[in-house]
Amino acid sequence: MPTSPPLAPNPLRRGLVEDRAGEACAVVIFGASGDLTRRKLMPALYNLAWSRALPAGIAIVGVARGEKTDDSFRAGMREAVGRFSRRKPIEEALWADFERGLTYVRGAASDPATYESLRAHLARLDADRGTGKNRLFYLAVPPSEFGPIVEGLRASRLVGDAARGQDPNAWSRVVFEKPFGHDLASARELNDTIALAFNESQVFRIDHYLGKETVQNLLVLRFANLLFEPVWGREHVDHVQITVAEDIGVEGRGRFYEQTGVTRDIVENHLMQLLCLTAMEPPISLVADAVRDEKVKVLRALRPMELAEVNHNVVRGQYARGTVHGEEVPAYVEEPDVAANSRVETYVAMRCFVDNWRWSGVPFYVRAGKRLARRVTEIAIVFHEVPRTLFRASRLSGITPNVLSVRIQPDEGIALRFISKEPGQQTVLRDVAMDFRYGAAFGSNTPEAYERLLLDAMRGEATLFTRRDEVEAQWRYIDPVLSALGSEAPPLTYPAGSWGPDKADDLLTRDGCRWRKP
């Protein structure tokens, strides 16, 4: 089969420092009336326009069931951007230009007529807006609609060779929001459905944590500084703690939470990704597959938990009434759309092991929960204690191990805790912290994760998205935990505003450690 010659690069891009704009395309958002579109996607697209990162040939098409005109859709999105954008107020001239590219197609995911309307609409946009037959389909919908939409796109020939027409360079990509399946079997099934319509290179599974600056900086911290890598392993690291704590409850999403729980909502994706980035070996390059290969190796090295071990290594909890930020809040079972006898976990703590050369014997304690004392996500590398101290025993109580903590949110930054001498005639030791904060060092207006991820999807850069085998490996590890939890007693309760059930402390205390209070 003859192959076309490689495409010549644009010579004016050579050495250009200014951020590159996305490629001309139509961004089709399924679920355009939803919260994600209003709170995250549309503000992110507006901010990309603000920073000149959107190409001239851009069109944004909202697809949803509601009866709307282009004008009413634009008005709704304007209100949402005004409310949720990190840049306020809206710049009128910029919005006027931006909204010209916003249009709306009404239709249900399961209705073939939706896709016929969409196909005609996109063809008009190619002519009117210069979108060049390029399509970015964004599925901001519940997982139950993933399959019907993929099938609808395939059946109506909105993707594949027919969609490209005569243009071999035209592309179609699809972006999926989490949760991607609810167990290994459903994730596989979904991946199989997607594979009927898309190649893996066209599929962008979002884990928005990967779009956060600090998460990306984790690779820079590890692999652009010689200082850390030699001590990043069992010889120097005592244990690792990863915390994803939220102070909010289910916030009106009781029905969704009843079907997921924190293990599926946070642990299977965000937390596993943070663990992978912490534990992975240096990739051979930053090419998407090189990074993802290394993450998959970590997931495969996670020591599987037999049913009997789950009870020993996993603690799950559910928040009871309590006080958060000085206000009384209800118990999980008192939230709307939550069963009074619900056994769904809102907190989980796990003791994991990465069985490879680097991390052999080093526990990774991970926890995630809702209605905890404060909102914080951090990775803490806790180093071994010094083998012998030169300082008098009476002063030893001040010595604690060095800790390198990477704060993902809020106050993104990195802190190193070490021991210093208190000024004075006596040798009194004390913890001090060397504290680097993103906001302080680089200014506060850093891009939102969705801006980076949307732009990457428009450019076809997949490094910050999860690959099929990665998602399946995450489920493979979590599935036995979920099965065991399903057959266990109800979760332990913990007061809202605390750091979780007391029993979670036992996971660490029996190893001689304790949870940080980040």
Partner: protein
């Protein structure tokens, strides 16, 4: 009686120490905050210096640094050094801790101007990179500039207020230093042009248009100035950038500058002047590119709006046989305000080979007749 320079510096050094020595609130862990850089700004005349103090204070809100802003006055007169220091604080993000920086302002006179590097070194925070911002023209053998530049990790000029020749000279000087000692060179005019360059590059982003980038037949540059004025630094750098990316050679025909493509085709160059009250003199206010290959013809313009120099209209027409496709986009250039411009320059990579190549190419036009009609 005025203080001796050593006394002045000693006093300022103590003041700087005091800013950093406040104890933590009761019960909180003492922290050592990371400084990101020293920012040394040499403003020349005192009025320029005072203007830059305001710019620096704006920048310090988003890039904490130790800033040292220096005015040079009457280098032939009696020696003296005046200095004062201030803490510049801004509220932390989302109610986070206050971000504190320090700014020292100095006026050097007489021989102190020549010895300025030793004064600055005494006040710089240690172990963080130093950026030297030099406003105005500069010669690399200037006894004030050279030692400061050698101590800096990066030098920022402004060809718009200095000259292209200064920029090219500093680029050449920095390039002659051994790699480990070589400071990066950046330029505010170059940063101002970055949005223009990106908009220009996107003309040819679509795969079917890339070949046209090598078939450009006409370039028109419009600068804000009365007719008959020489092409300014912005226009010169833009032309240098286009030429070095596209491999255009400068030649002349009947004494007039002409550009030739690597495949020998000629590129017509039109230099235009547009008196515009809202644009600073010499600023770029329009760019037009035409290209053709076979049946495919392209014409693209980037034009600043007359009533707002910060807004530009990007427009592209493509003709292929009887088919015609037009597309346009309004964008904000966000390059007219000094503080964001300096901030963006500080965030760019330390070394920029494209700037070096473009400045060198543009400087070689010095003897050509390049006036805007």
């Amino acid at each position: 009686m005025s203080e001796a320079p050593g006394q002045v510096l000693g006093r300022i050094e103590q003041e700087l120490r005091r800013y950093l020595s406040s104890p933590p609130p009761p019960g909180e862990l003492p922290t050592a905050h990371a400084s990101t850089r020293n920012l040394v700004v040499i403003g020349g005349a005192p009025e320029i210096t005072s203007r830059w103090v305001a710019v620096v204070d704006e920048v310090l809100k988003v890039i904490p640094a130790r800033a040292i802003v220096v005015g040079l006055e009457d280098p032939e007169g009696p020696d003296s050094l005046e200095a004062n220091s201030s803490a510049v604080s801004s509220p932390g993000e989302g109610g986070g801790p206050v971000v504190c920086s320090e700014r020292v302002t100095m006026i050097a006179r007489g021989a102190v101007c020549e010895r300025l590097a030793s004064c600055v070194e005494m006040l710089c925070a240690s172990d963080v990179p130093t950026t030297l911002v030099w406003i105005g023209r500069v010669h690399t053998d200037d006894p004030t500039f050279e030692p400061l530049a050698r101590d800096a990790d990066r030098i920022i000029l402004d060809a718009g207020h200095g000259s292209l020749a200064s920029l090219a000279q500093v680029v050449h000087w920095a390039g002659s230093l051994p790699g480990s000692d070589r400071p990066g060179v950046a330029d505010l005019a170059w940063t101002r042009l970055a949005p223009w360059q990106e908009l220009c590059a996107r003309i040819f982003d679509e795969p079917n248009l890339r070949e046209l980038a090598t078939k450009i037949s006409r370039i028109a540059i419009t600068q804000a100035s009365p007719p008959g004025v020489a092409l300014g630094s912005d226009g010169g750098l833009m032309l240098g950038w286009l030429a070095t990316r596209l491999g255009l050679k400068a030649t002349s025909l009947a004494g007039k500058l002409r550009l030739v493509r690597p495949n020998e085709g000629a590129v017509r160059l039109d230099l235009r002047a547009q008196p515009a009250a809202r644009n600073p003199r010499g600023a770029l206010c329009g760019l037009e590119i035409e290209a053709r290959t076979g049946e495919l013809a392209l014409r693209a313009t980037i034009t600043c709006e007359k009533d707002d120099a910060d807004k530009a209209l990007w427009h592209r027409d493509i003709e292929s046989g009887s088919k015609r496709e037009s597309i346009e986009q309004r964008v904000r250039l966000r390059s007219s305000e000094a503080a964001p411009l300096l901030e963006r320059t500080l965030r760019r990579p330390r070394y920029d080979q494209t700037l070096a190549e473009s400045a060198t190419w543009a400087d070689e036009l010095r003897d050509e007749e390049v006036t805007c009609g």
